[in-house]
Amino acid sequence: MRGPSFLESIEAACPGAVVGSQLEALDPWIEIAPARIAEVCQWLKSRAEPRFDSLQCITAVDWLETDPKKAAKVSWQPHLEMVYHLWSTPARSSLVLKVKLPRWSGDVAGHLPEIPSVTGVWRTADWHEREVYDLSGVSFSGHPDLRRILCPEDWVGYPLRKDYEMPMEYHGIRCR
């Protein structure tokens, strides 16, 4: 199911959406173009076999090495990686989708990278996307209610970014 034939069927349904894949990984994954993620998810949910009717988790991983010595050695460029874990209740199988995003939109610090929201596909994505927005700083276009969920509404910064620095104080409370 996760083999090359599955990859081809996505490619056939959404031409140009698949930009990479790693089928030999521990959890085989497929990389999707950022603008196409909602469309691919909608197709995965509506197809007959297997129907990915449930979303387990949305994660953002910040790939940024803050130590300049180590940064010179790493093989990747700084970026954000979105990981979608899908689950099919009838087929009892999972699927991993990944999307690469720039850390900041247009490389301007503070401008959040944007990705289409999958709230319209699975309702559970609502809170998961709010959490990713809150902690990792990704803006979801088309999200009905994009605001912070775990941090206070007036919190500054995105704590799960690797270059995040804890503020000295918050409303008179010492933070560090």
Binding site: D27, D126, R148
Partner: protein
């Protein structure tokens, strides 16, 4: 009818029009199970909108995980679902083992089943007792805590802690069970088994309890899946899914050879319903009563599993393997694994980059998704039913806010 003038005292009778009002429930409200704040938009007694506000218990667990080795993060997993800390330890340990392609031996496998199922019983006991409190009856809470205390005693003997165990760890468990522990565990089960009847008399078949829960907060099958609900909430809606049977082979392998039936209603019948109270006629599949009942069935199911695990564990002569080193290097790559914790599917995601400290740690909790469905369930219900609905989801704020 004569015309009414403003000073007429009878005007009050005609002025019972209610206004829309915002009611703040929590974060200190006792029936919100911790620090959850619900903002209710009400019209009289009817709730038209519910907005949960979470994050009061946010402790940056994921960020802390990026600065510790997996074994050092085990105590932090205790504090996710602190009522089922063993299951949290297990979920994280298995995820890291998956990434490292490490397999624990037979003895550790049976020990894990034994401990995890025992913790499931204690978690469901709290769920049951606290649910009684939500609905205004105090005694079931005392009954539940009486038995839970004995499980905590057993855990204390095994690992020294009563709530935050850090017992199951990457590569096995921190220590083997002390001598005589299995006999004491069996003695507890023998004593516990007949007591379950009391719970059913106190709550399951109690006329007031049935009136308060049957037909309240009905969660349809499709909505449960769409909102990513899991565990007893999902099974209470009639979805036949239990990761102990349907999950990844790495996890189901742990339960290989164990006999158990998933607690879900199939063709109008629950497994074991021959020896159990019958489903009341008012109950609708997916309502608060069914969610509660699934938990009660799982208590018995877990008891069976514990008995099976005791025999298998005792039959393993080899010593328990040493857990992995504290600073064991993680391979490059990522792994995601969901396990069936008492409250639902607990997922952990770990990204390794060749050092002993993970690059990214993610905990996806079941209560987080289960709570997100409240606004759908509470639409149009009475204010008094809000605690009944939220309580039936059996949430723990520790794993929602992380």
């Amino acid at each position: 009818m004569p015309d009414l003038i403003e000073d007429d005292p009878r005007i009050i009778e005609f002025d019972v029009r209610t206004d829309e009002m915002l009611v703040n429930m929590g974060p200190q409200h006792p029936s919100t199970h911790g620090v959850l704040r619900l903002v209710l938009r009400t019209d009289g007694e009817i709730v038209s909108e519910t907005e949960p506000h979470i994050g009061y218990l946010h402790r940056c667990a994921e960020k802390i995980g990026e600065n510790l080795t997996p074994r050092q993060w085990i105590p932090y997993t205790d504090r996710l679902d602190y009522l089922a800390a063993m299951n949290m330890n297990l979920g994280w340990a298995l995820t890291v083992e998956k990434l490292m392609r490490h397999e624990v031996g037979e003895k550790a496998r049976h020990l894990r089943v034994l401990i995890a199922e025992l913790n499931r019983i204690s978690s469901h006991l709290v769920g049951m007792g606290a649910y009684g409190l939500d609905l205004g009856t105090f005694s079931p809470f005392l009954y539940a805590f009486r038995e839970r205390e004995r499980i905590l005693d057993l855990f204390e003997e095994a690992c020294g802690a009563r709530l935050t165990y850090s017992y199951i760890t990457v590569g096995g468990a921190t220590a083997d069970l002390p001598p005589g522990w299995l006999q004491r565990c069996e003695a507890f089960l023998d004593q516990f088994e007949p007591i379950i009847k009391e719970y059913h008399a106190l709550l399951t078949t109690n006329a007031i309890f049935v009136k308060r829960t049957a037909g309240i907060g009905v969660l349809s099958r499709a909505m449960a899946i769409d909102y990513g609900c899991s565990g007893p909430v999902l099974r209470g809606s009639g979805v036949d899914q239990d990761l102990r049977r349907d999950g990844e082979s790495l996890y189901t392998g742990m339960y290989d050879g164990y006999a158990f039936e998933v607690a879900v209603q199939k063709e109008g019948r629950y497994p074991r319903d021959h020896s159990y109270p019958t489903v009341p006629s008012e109950a609708v599949l997916g309502d608060c009563w069914h969610r509660f009942f699934v938990r009660m069935l799982e208590v018995v199911q877990s008891m069976d599993l514990v008995r099976q695990a005791i025999d298998r564990y005792a039959a393993c002569p080899e010593p328990l393997p040493e857990p992995l080193k504290l600073f064991e290097k993680l391979p490059v790559g990522d792994a995601y694994l969901e396990t069936e914790a008492p409250k639902g599917q607990m997922g952990f995601y770990v990204v390794g980059n060749g050092t002993s400290i993970p690059w990214r740690v993610r905990a996806r909790s079941s209560s987080f998704s289960n709570l997100s469905v409240t606004h759908e369930l509470c639409r149009g219900c009475l204010i008094a039913d809000v605690p009944a609905i939220v309580g039936s989801l059996d949430i723990v704020m520790g794993e929602i806010d992380r």
